[in-house]
Structure formats: C-alpha cells, structure tokens
Symmetry: none
Subunit: 140 residues, 4 copies
C-alpha cells in the first residue's frame, strides 16, 4: 500500500474564477448571494457577500461548501430522519440545505462551492454556474 | 460499602488491535471509514481516517464512540422524540446515529468504538468487526 | 438630535477591488496571504486564501479586519498589558496582531481589511496596498 | 495562471506507519505519548493515546500537528511577544509548544505530526522518529 497518492489542488486563481462566475450568475438572476469556495479539506479559499445578501448566509453558505466537499455530493439529498442527527453530531457544520456542490476534476473532489441567500433552487443554480467556469470540471 | 473497586482498562495496544480489525473490515467492504476508539470516560484512545472517508465524519464517528461509552449500549436505539433533545442538551456529543458500540469485557464497559462515513448499517458492521478482534469482548 | 444619519456602505464591487489589489501586492512581494475584507459591522464581505498561505491565517486575518473595523484604527498599537485582556474578553475576536487597517472614506469607517500569513510588517504593507486601490479612501 | 496544481496526499497507510514508528520511539524512551497525524489542511488522519499519557495532551498534541501543517515549520520557534496573540486569534489552535513537525515530501508539506505528554524536547524527538519512518520524507 503506498504512503502517498497523487492529487490535484485548486489554486486561488481557480477559486476566484469560480467565485466571479457565480457572482455574474447571481447578478443575471437578480438574486444577491453569499458565495464560498473551499478546498477538499473544507478550508475557505474564496468568499464574497454581495450587496443586500443576508449576513447570516455568510455561515450557511460556507457550511454548504464544507458539506459538499466532505460528502463528495451536492447538498440537499439526505433523508429527513438523518439530517438533524448529522447536523447535531458535527456542530452544524454538516447541512442538508441545497446550494453546495463539489468541484470534481478527473473524478477527484478538489473543493466545493456553497451559495446561500436565495431559495435553495436559486442557490444551487448559482453554484452550478460557478463550477461551469472551471475548464474540465464535472457539470452537475 | 467499599471505597474503591477493581476495574479493567483498555490499553492502547488493545485499542489499536480493534482499530486495525475495523480498518481490515472496511477495506473488505470497500467502504472507507473514520474509526474512533475511546476509553470508558469517552476520551480518545485511537483514531484513523481512511483514504476518501468524509472529513466531517472525524467528529461524528468520535461522538458515536463517546455516546456508546456513556450509555453502555450501541447507538441508534433512542426514540425519535428524545434524540434531538439529548443532542441539544449535550452540545451534540450524544448522537443517535448508528455506528457506535461499547466494548464490554466480563460485563464491564471498558470503552467504545465509533465508525462513520458509510451508511449507518455499514458503520455498525464495521464497528462490530473491530470489537470481534478483542479476545473476550462481548459480541454484538 | 436626528433619528437617523446618512451613511456610506462598501459594495461587494468595492470590496473585491480592494481584495484584488491586495492579491497583486502579495504576488509582487512573493508572500502568499490570507486577505479578508469586512464591513463596518465586522461581517465578512470578501476573502481569499492564496496558494501556500497558512490555513490558520484564515481566522487570524479575518479577526484583524474585524478588530480594525471596530477600533477604527490599524491593529497592533495596543499596550502589551491590555492586549491579552481584550483578547480574552472578546473570545479572541479582538487581536493586536499587525495587518488590520480600517477603510475610511470622508472620515467614516466603511469597513476594514485584514491580512495574515507573512510577518506583521508584510501583512500591513499588503493591507495598505489593498486600500490604496479604492478611490477616495484614506491612505495609511 | 493555472486553475489547479499537482499535489501529493498522505494515505492512511502512510499516516499509520508514522504513528507506529512514533509509538515505538516513545516506548524505547519510556515516555508515554499522545500522537496525532494530520493532513495538509489540518484534519486528523491518525491518533493514539498511549497508556498513562496525559488526557489533556489529546488536544494539545493535535494542535501541535495542526500548527506545523499550517506554518510548514516545526512548532516552538515563534517569538514570545507574538505566540499568545496568535493563540488567541486562532482559538488556541495555533500553539508554540514544541512537538509539532511538518511532513515534507519533495518540498511539499503533505501533513504533520504532533506529539505531547512528555517534555517539549521528548515530544519533538518522538515526532521526528515518526517522520523518519516515511521513505522520502524530509529529516528534521
């Protein structure tokens, strides 16, 4: 069994590209958003809170990104009977709110984006648009 | 009534034996896991996060072990109407997620194992396999 | 005495302008940084963690910005005998580390920038360069 | 500027190899230890608390590893006038206690080990012995 394995990291340049694409989408939709991009360990890489976005979404948008990075799946798909338990067991870091999407390149999760301040569907649409700006990233 | 009573402690050697058996089971199942072994006071003895296991399960797997050590029962059996109240009243340390199992020798709880990153049933199966590696431990 | 007063808010466009100028400065200096821009209430507006910046600086850079927004002064000027007391009394949100600078327009604090991952002097230099990109902002 | 960069990840197999070498060293020294191995984002990969090691060192040993992973340097070298400020600004996650050492392969930090329960020098010696077990890792 190998001691190390090859991996790929998202640069801050790549993270800002995703952030800016998500901002453009939010502007086009007319829905101000909080937008967070994290690395594959859940640590913050880039963030913006747009004018008139909700300040409590600073935290929830970030946690959507953290959750998507950890689970390697878009947020929102957990069964109702388990989502609160998982939230409690992680001090609320794991959230089942829609709007978190992993950034996947060549089958590897290299980070995630989380968007919050609109409806769940608006948040998700904005998150997908952010990822679409990264060449080679999996489209959701 | 005596002032003190004899007790048995799990060594780190015993804890690692359990950990390694759980890793082997997780590999055989093809389900990467976070695996925590705690003592009878809920303090961490041994831990591993396998490749591709969810990083948010670091905390939830540990709390499953803590809960099992405290309650002296496998996790997951609480009534739905009480599980959230108990979670809130313990800052989330008590969890009703499946995958925590006490380590019992001669009727005494000497620690617990908690596993998380798969489904609840996968986590539980892996936890039981870990305990099975300890000679004399109660089989669940 | 009036019930309300006119105020000026930093937009996310302005915050990103500051962020990007600070990134350019950090690149020119060859010192990767965590850079946070907050509003006058200390809530995050924009953030970036550059490649190879320290991940623990995510939090400390943000707190430098929060401290500068609250005190309306660059961070780092507190007397040694009071800095720890103030840190303890604010759960560490108030920090006397260098690298936080308020964003002042027409005599009003409209936000702050915090930079961390280099030395205190490097952090401060990068923060000032960020603010310099905002037309009309006070130069420090 | 590229969106992604190649990187290397420490496997749990590699982390356990380091852990077991550190345990062997601690046994040879007759100093029971808490030993933590984290990845390059500071998330826990492997942990052991040896018999008779201090339970409060569970946390401090882990934070030594987190600090070394973030700063890319062994812990303990900060100036006295800055170490408390940095501790406060990171909720105590950044520590200047000796015993944390980054794991460096081909010039890249892929994680860190933190050891605690002995003196600082004993902790550091044990941490170095752990890393020495990983082929190709930088010797400190």
């Amino acid at each position: 069994m190998p001691d190390t394995i090859a991996h790929v990291k998202l640069t801050h340049g790549g993270a800002l590209k995703i952030l800016n694409a998500a901002i453009a989408k939010a502007e086009a939709m007319g829905v101000p958003q909080c937008i967070a991009v994290v690395d594959d360990g859940g640590d913050l890489l880039a963030f913006v809170r747009m004018d008139r976005a909700k300040f409590l979404s600073i935290e929830s948008a970030t946690r959507k990104a953290v959750t998507a990075a950890s689970s390697r799946m878009p947020t929102g798909g957990l069964a109702p009977e388990i989502e609160v338990k998982l939230g409690l067991a992680t001090d609320g870091r794991l959230t089942n709110l829609k709007g978190g999407v992993p950034i996947v390149v060549d089958g590897n999760v290299i980070g995630a984006i989380g968007v919050g301040s609109g409806t769940g569907d608006q948040d998700l649409e904005c998150a997908k648009a952010g990822i679409a700006a990264l060449a080679g990233a999996k489209a959701w």
